[in-house]
């Protein structure tokens, strides 16, 4: 079973909840995939032993100048402005390339050779309770998160329980994480921001036609509209986690929720059981 943990915006406690779910699972095989590659933080809470760090690169073109006749066919095809041709000069902007391969295919002179651009690393290891751990870390300065997320997802176990920590927002990186998950938990807080971002995140799941529910963090902030909205839209609220200074302090130090307040372990385990039905 694959469960994604997402939220419209960051800082709602998504990561500590994703890690807590993994820790509370009674399943033999549990894997945590940190797909929030622009701000990967699961390791802070899971403290895994790293087995391997693998560099992920994209295939990008390099021009073989002697072969190029400046016909501009590549430039016309490239939708990402990664190639410029003027007069007898051709330039490839490696960092703009999406690696679609079009220029290689369209060039009549075979004037491109394969180069590569490093986009980040995929770290694998084992965390507490022998949880299998995979994390993508986007290279600072790299724009494309999606191919790295795909690389992380490609390491998902076929069986067992897979928890995916999704990036915030509603655009392609989120879609690429939650897509195909059996269930998605949206973590939010009862504030106008929380409600606004929840509506956006729910929009993603509705559009994908995938089932989801809500976990309400810092649930006693006093703004009732989030729950009202959930009720009205038949979105189940699975868990409410009231604000607790102890939790906030533990979080700061990198302790996951279930370690700070042990009885959450049962509640998360119960939730997992519910979801697997």
């Amino acid at each position: 079973m694959k469960i994604a943990v997402a939220s419209g915006k960051g800082g709602t406690g998504k990561t500590t909840i994703a890690v807590s779910l993994a820790l509370a699972a009674s399943t033999a095989k549990v894997q945590l995939l940190d797909c929030d590659v622009e701000a990967p933080n699961c390791h802070i809470f899971l403290k895994p032993v790293v087995d391997e760090e693998e560099v992920v690169s994209l295939d990008v073109p390099a021009v073989i100048e002697q072969k190029c006749t400046y016909c501009k066919k590549c430039k016309e095809l490239c939708q990402f402005n990664a190639i410029a041709v003027f007069g007898k000069t051709i330039m490839v902007f490696k960092e703009m390339c999406h690696s679609c391969g079009g220029c290689f295919l369209v060039c009549p002179e075979e004037a491109f050779s394969r180069d590569s651009r490093e986009i980040g690393t995929v770290v694998t290891g084992k965390g507490k309770g022998s949880i299998k751990f995979v994390q993508g870390r986007l290279r600072v300065g790299e724009a494309l998160a999606t191919p790295l997320i795909k690389a992380v997802r490609s390491r998902a176990l076929e069986d067992g329980l897979v928890i995916l920590d999704a990036p915030p927002g509603t655009s392609c990186p989120v879609i690429n994480t939650v897509r195909g998950a059996d269930y998605t938990l949206l973590v939010t807080e009862p504030t106008p921001f929380g409600l606004h971002d929840l509506k956006l995140a729910a929009g993603v799941l509705w559009k994908l036609e995938q089932p989801f529910g809500v976990i309400l963090n810092r649930s006693d902030l006093g703004y009732g509209e989030v729950e009202k909205w959930c009720n009205k839209n038949n979105v189940p609220v699975h868990l409410k986690i009231p604000f607790d200074r102890k939790v906030a302090e533990g979080y700061a130090k990198g302790q996951p929720l279930v370690e700070i307040v042990p009885n959450y372990r049962d509640r998360f385990a119960f939730l997992l059981k519910e979801l697997s039905k």
């Binding site: 960051g10 709602t12 933080n41 679609c100 998160a145 915030p168 897509r179 993603v204």
Partner: protein, 289 residues
């Protein structure tokens, strides 16, 4: 005209609360909301939309089943696994990156490229000055292009009305939209909080600012929630000679101001509001030096 970009790596550090308060402090400014994916700033500054425009960006490929013979060329060439083959080819909208390779090489000319309506953008009036903001549609790509557009429009607007400042509410993360938000920024204000995730995110942001050779200053929000971490951040900043422009204490009024839909500074005069007020002249001095 000077441009300040407010960033936070991950969300939830209070970035938008601080941006809205800066808008109130900086007289004669244009606000630019570059968090186009999940913007919240409008909830605090209640913009009155004056102009709204469609944002068209890129194309999506679509198969014409009448022409498709099911040869499979597109599926073979597409690097984004967007094409699945049955009797005919089918292209998945969410996976397609609009590279046009399939359309170019289809022997039957069966693939049409449809322009994407990816979002909207607006020019608005607020109590605190003009504002440019946008909304990317769910699941769209090209958030970077929309960010560039918002920045371009806010600069034009600032020139037109002779504004002194552009205050940019930046997107989360360090990827495509954030990179786009750097262009033209004179100073980055990184908002962090005293947690281990906060510190890691801050380090990534600072590295990115170095990468783009943009000056950066930092404010630590809710600093008193964990004094030892706060200390760790301060040491890190000192070692790297990065100015700390404010330490903002935890203040329950920050949440209340969200509920009230007002910038914190307008809502209350507590300790947090005070710290933000004192921060502005420091930022101003950095921008003008």
């Amino acid at each position: 005209m000077k441009e300040i970009l407010v960033l936070s790596g991950k969300g939830g550090t209070g970035k938008t609360t601080i941006t809205a308060s800066l808008a109130l402090l900086a007289q004669n400014s244009v606000l630019a909301d570059c968090d186009v994916d999940a913007s919240d700033l409008h909830l605090l500054v209640s913009p009155n939309v004056q102009e709204s425009h469609d944002f068209w960006s890129g194309v999506t490929a679509k198969v014409d089943p009448k022409k498709c013979t099911g040869c499979g060329t597109c599926a073979e060439l597409c690097r984004f696994e967007a094409v699945s083959m049955g009797e005919k080819a089918y292209i998945d909208h969410f996976s397609c990156e609009g590279c046009t390779v399939c359309a170019h090489f289809c022997p039957e000319d069966a693939i049409e490229l449809e322009p994407n309506l990816s979002g909207e953008w607006y020019i608005s009036e607020t109590k605190y000055g003009a504002m440019v903001h946008a909304r990317l549609h769910v699941g769209e790509e090209n958030s970077g292009k929309l960010v560039s557009l918002v920045k371009r429009e806010s600069r034009e607007l600032a020139e037109e009305i002779g504004a002194k400042w552009i205050i940019v509410d930046g997107p989360p993360g360090i990827g495509c939209p954030v990179i786009s938000s750097f262009s033209g920024a004179d100073l980055v204000l990184a908002v962090t909080e005293p947690t281990s995730s906060g510190l890691q995110d801050l380090k990534r942001l600072i590295k990115l600012a170095y990468h783009f050779k943009t000056d950066v200053c930092v404010c630590i929000n809710k600093w008193d929630l964990n004094e030892s971490f706060c200390n760790e951040i301060e040491v890190y900043l000192e070692d790297n000679e990065i100015p700390l422009v404010a330490k903002i204490p935890f203040d329950k009024a920050a949440v209340d101001s969200l509920v009230a839909g007002k910038p914190l500074l307008e809502y209350t005069t507590g300790l947090a509001a005070d710290a933000i007020r004192k921060m502005w002249p420091r930022i101003e001095a950095m921008l003008l030096s």
